[in-house]
Every structure is written in C-alpha cells, then in structure tokens.
Amino acid sequence: MFRTLKPFGYFEPKTIEEAIGALSVHGAKAKVLAGGVDLVPRLRKRQAHPEYMINIQQIEELDGIIKETAEGLRIGALASLRSIELSPLVKKNYFVLHEAIHSIASIQVKTQGTAVGNLCVATPASDVAPALLVLDAKFRIVGPSGEKTVPAENFYLGVGQTVLQPNEIITEILLPKPQAKTGGAFLKLVRTAADIAKVNAAATLTMADGACKEARIAVGSVATTVLRVKKAEGVLKEQKLDLKVIETAARAAAEEVKPISDLRSTAEYRKETTRVLVKRALEKALERAKA
C-alpha cells in the first residue's frame, strides 16, 4: 500500500458540456470522479492511472435530488447511497432499493459514495445493481452526441465493463412508477456484515387475481455481471404462487447462474445459495405484494 497518490491533472467543470469536452479531449486518460470511495483507493493501489481527474461534483446541472416525476422517480447522479437509503419516497415505493442499500454496512461509504459511482464500478457483487434491475431502472447518459436512456439491464458487459464510453457521464437514474400489488425483497449472504456479497438476490412480484402478473429476479456475485434470471421469472408468470412453484423457480435460477470459486465461496456453494436466497426473496416479496 502506498500512502500518496501519483500526480495527475485536475479539472472541475461547471457544466456538463465542459465535462464532456474535457473527457473527449483526454479520452481514456481521464477519469470521472464522484465520491472517490472506489477511485481514490484504486489510485493508491496503483490499479488506475488517470492523467486527468474530472470532478463532476461542482457541475451546476448535476445534483443529488430524489423526486417524483410523471413517469416515476428520478435520482440525481450525485445522490449519495445514504440519501437514497433514507429517502421516504424510496422507502415507500421502492423498498427493495432501500433494503439493498441498507445492507451496505459502512455509514462513511454510504455518505460519501454515490449510487451511480457504485453502478459504474460494475462489480458483479454490487448490492445496488440487482435492486435497480428488478425495479426496471433506466440510466440517462449524456455524451458528445447528446442524450440517451439505457435500461439497467443493457448497461453491463462484464467485470468492470459497461456500455458507458470514456466521454459519457450518467446524469440520472430513472425508476418507473410502482405498480399496485407489488412486493419486493433483497437478500444477501456475507462472511461478515462489512464484507461484499458471496451471493445476493433481489426480487419483485406483481400479483393480480391471485396469480403472478409479473416477476423480476436479479442476482449478484454469481456471474461476470449482475443479471436477471429470466427462466426463473418465466416459471412464475401467470401462476398461482405456492411454495412448490417458488421452489421450482429458485432451482431454475440456480441453473442459470455461472459462478466462480474464489476466497469467499466455491462455485457449487454459490449455486446452492442462489437457490436458497432466490426462494427466500420470492417468499418475502410475495408476502409484501399481498400486504
């Protein structure tokens, strides 16, 4: 571990245009800086070597505001994990996101770190990403050729890799309006509370006339990206949800994942745990959908 960081240039753009301009000039040599919780330790460990740091925290058009819109909920790119966790709107209508962030232990990390920063790191162990996948989130991205909206589901390409280009920034997370009779749940298995997930799982269920109208299940730490397990979702659709159907879906989920063995768990253990966590998350989501 080094104490000090290697020198780099620093730029504090005041507008998104200035930021995109600077990122376009320097390309992969520049890095966007938000809370710094991920990036600064990487610099210290010499795992990242940017020549220019573009701090986006002073951009006037960016903020951390969490508010309801005609389409649903909008979370500004600078929103800290903690502000999202504590938001009454998130607790009321998007409880699975609250639950996911609540599972992250360190208050300092959540106070300083942004949700968008967490997503951009693109670790398959993110707790935030599975919750956003089951909530059908979209990310608003701005780049040199303008603005686009990318579904969370299409955002990840691999470990540390996303569709985001070096000269693009995320400006907002957008969540659709919550549907009636919907319940969600997030669960994770860890070695100690402060460690990252061995496996995590998020689920939402929408019920109508006693049957499942829509099911979304996402799991983390069991493939190169956080992913939706669509075969498992398919098992639930249009079914009356009893324990047997839920167990079948959970088994399907375990079949769909491609975990690795590492210091936290073996691949076999992760598969088996996927089954258990998905089952429990579905049971909890069902209870909440009925309530």
Binding site: T4, L5, L43, V109
Partner: protein
C-alpha cells in the same frame, strides 16, 4: 502538477492551503496542518480510522482529494473538545474503558458524534450498525458501544 489554493475551515479556523491535485485531505490534515489525530490505516475505505466530519457528515479523509473539500467545514478529533473540556463522548470513552491502543478512537469518536447529532437517543443495535465502518483491533467493540450509549444518556440529561 500545478498547485492551487484551497480554503478549508478546520475545527473552526479558516486555512488557505496550497495543494497539488493528488494530495488527499488526510495528507493535508496530518502533514500540512499537523493534525495527526486523524489516522491513515488501510487507505482503502475499509477501516474508518481516517474519518472526519465534512459539513457535519462522517466521511473518509483517505478517499477524499483535498481539492474536492475546498470551501468545506471540517471537524477533526482535535476540534472535539471545547475550551479545554473533553466532549461527553470522549469522557465516556475514557470512563468505559473503550480505548486500548487508541488508533481507531478518533474515527470512532467522530462517527459517534455524527450518530448522536442525527439520533440523540440510539438503541444498542443502532450504535453497532452506525459504527460498522469503523474497525477496532483491540477492544472487541462492547465497551465502545457502552461508551456511546453512556454519552447519549449524559447528553440527554443536559450535560453538554
């Protein structure tokens, strides 16, 4: 790289400081301002020993570039005692035996202060949860949690 002047209010005193972009807030506090109460341990966001309050909120000085703290208000452990009198949290840490080697203590105290500012009457579980980003190699945490609860009781009685 080019130095720039930043303004930091540290423990109530405004400092004009010249820094290079790669310098962290932790280095400024320890090496330019001689405030060595703020520790550097893991340098990776894991241990909380470098915690300071930035505009009242607990943040990690090891993960903060000094330039991004420009214009902000910073409280370090050196600013917790007032007029020579220890803060109730500091007194409680001493009285409850919540300190052994002391390396984690500044971070523990500042995080605890942020907790009591937000939630003056926390439960034991709430204290444990709020302090989970602060690691201690020595105490086993029980006495630290005892101390925070004792300080809360004392402060709610009207001690300051």
């Amino acid at each position: 790289m080019k130095k720039e002047i930043i303004n930091l209010t540290v423990n109530g005193t405004l400092h004009e400081i010249s820094v290079e972009p790669q310098v962290t807030l932790n280095e400024v506090l320890r090496e330019q301002l001689d405030l060595t109460g703020t520790k550097l341990s893991c340098g990776a966001g894991e241990c909380g020993a470098c915690t300071v309050l930035i505009d009242g909120k607990p943040e990690l000085s090891c993960c903060t570039l000094a330039m991004t703290a420009n214009g902000k208000d910073i409280l370090t452990i050196e600013g917790l005692a007032r007029d020579g009198e220890l803060h109730p949290l500091q007194k409680a840490f001493v009285e409850c035996g919540a300190i052994q080697c002391g390396f984690c203590t500044p971070g523990m105290l500042l995080t605890s202060k942020a907790l009591l500012d937000e939630n003056p009457d926390p439960t034991r579980e709430e204290v444990k949860s709020y302090l989970s980003g602060n690691l201690c190699r020595c105490t086993g945490y029980v006495k630290i949690v005892d101390a925070v609860l004792a300080a809360a009781t004392e402060m709610n009685k009207g001690g300051k």
